[in-house]
């Protein structure tokens, strides 16, 4: 059975999904890729907006999410953070 994803992993999966799509993703694709309910995804997105990791943009009147420098930095830092959290286990 799969282990429940922690918050950090969910954020990583969302950002990685955006980056895989060339740094820009449609809301429906992100919903599918991040494997979350719509409400949950909005909650995490709001956090990503406040931390300036993701930006909302309008592309030909269609909403899309773009990864920012902070988001890319998080993806780079994630492995270190994961290693650190695994070593203490909290």
């Amino acid at each position: 059975m799969n282990e429940r994803r922690d918050k950090l992993k969910i954020i990583y999966d969302m950002l990685a999904a955006i980056q895989e799509k060339g740094g820009k993703i449609k809301p429906t694709h992100l919903l599918y890729k991040s494997n979350l309910s719509h409400t949950k995804m909005q909650l995490y997105l709001n956090e990503l907006f406040t931390k300036d990791m993701v930006k909302e943009e309008l592309n030909n009147s269609n909403k899309c999410y773009t990864i920012t420098k902070n988001g890319i930095k998080f993806l780079e830092d994630y492995k270190k953070v994961k290693e650190f959290t695994d070593s203490f286990g909290f």
Binding site: D6, T85, S87, F88, G89, F90
Partner: protein, 225 residues
């Protein structure tokens, strides 16, 4: 006339002990800083408390270094006009060291044992305060090391062992080993108080330095990724 030292230790070891404590303090502050960074990134409050606990132990060492400096260089503390006041300054620093270090361990124990509720945490901090006060009243660090040992053996080490068993990686093993070594060093210090053997005090310091080095190695491995 020199300061009446509470700790039973060889005078020649004082400078080396301070050096060990400076290294330990730097390591603890580095781990605390990185833990705070993890909290900022993940918003996981446990890492904020982990940062606070390491910061508390680290700052505790600062007061220990200050008290050691008073014993070593008491004649240079001329801004404190008499020996009576200087001894207050000395015991005050030791009490602060004991309280801050034990508070750090209490926070770690609460994190490991998932202790919730203000009353439970406050009562553990109360015991930490009592042990710190007893440093002055009983002129002994036995209670301090005993409480530290209990927190490590009962709460922290079993949690770290479970984490290592679950994650089965080098980093988790290093952290587990670091806390085992800290418990072992506490035992050395308790035995030193019981048998009045200064060699045990020196041994305890070497073991505790090794424990902090393990934490540094873990942090270095993490940052190398």
């Amino acid at each position: 006339m020199a300061i009446n030292d509470i700790i039973f230790r060889p005078t020649w070891f004082l400078g080396i002990e301070s050096l060990f404590e400076i290294i330990s303090m730097i390591i603890l502050l580095l781990v605390s800083l990185y833990s705070y960074k993890v909290y900022k990134l993940s918003n996981n409050k446990k890492y904020k408390y982990l940062a606070v606990s390491f910061f508390s132990i680290g700052i505790g060492f600062l007061f220990k270094i200050l008290s050691d400096s008073i014993v070593l260089y008491y004649d240079r503390f001329t801004f404190i006009d008499n020996l009576f006041r200087l001894s207050y300054f000395y015991t005050g620093s030791l009490i602060l060291f004991a309280f801050l270090a034990l508070s750090g361990y209490v926070i770690l124990a609460c994190l490991a044992a998932k202790v919730k509720g203000r009353r439970k945490i406050m009562s553990l901090l109360g015991i930490a305060f009592l042990c710190a006060i007893l440093v002055r009243q009983a002129r002994s660090f036995t209670f301090f090391y005993f409480f530290e040992f209990v927190l490590l053996i009962v709460y922290i080490i079993p949690y770290m062992y479970d984490n290592y068993k679950h994650k089965k990686n080098k980093n988790a093993y290093l952290v587990f080993l670091a806390f085992v070594l800290l418990a072992l060093s506490s035992l050395f210090f308790i035995a030193m108080s019981a048998y009045n053997l200064q060699q045990l005090y020196i041994g305890g310091h070497f073991i505790s330095l090794l424990a902090y080095i393990m934490l540094l190695v873990n942090l270095t491995l993490v940052l190398k990724k």
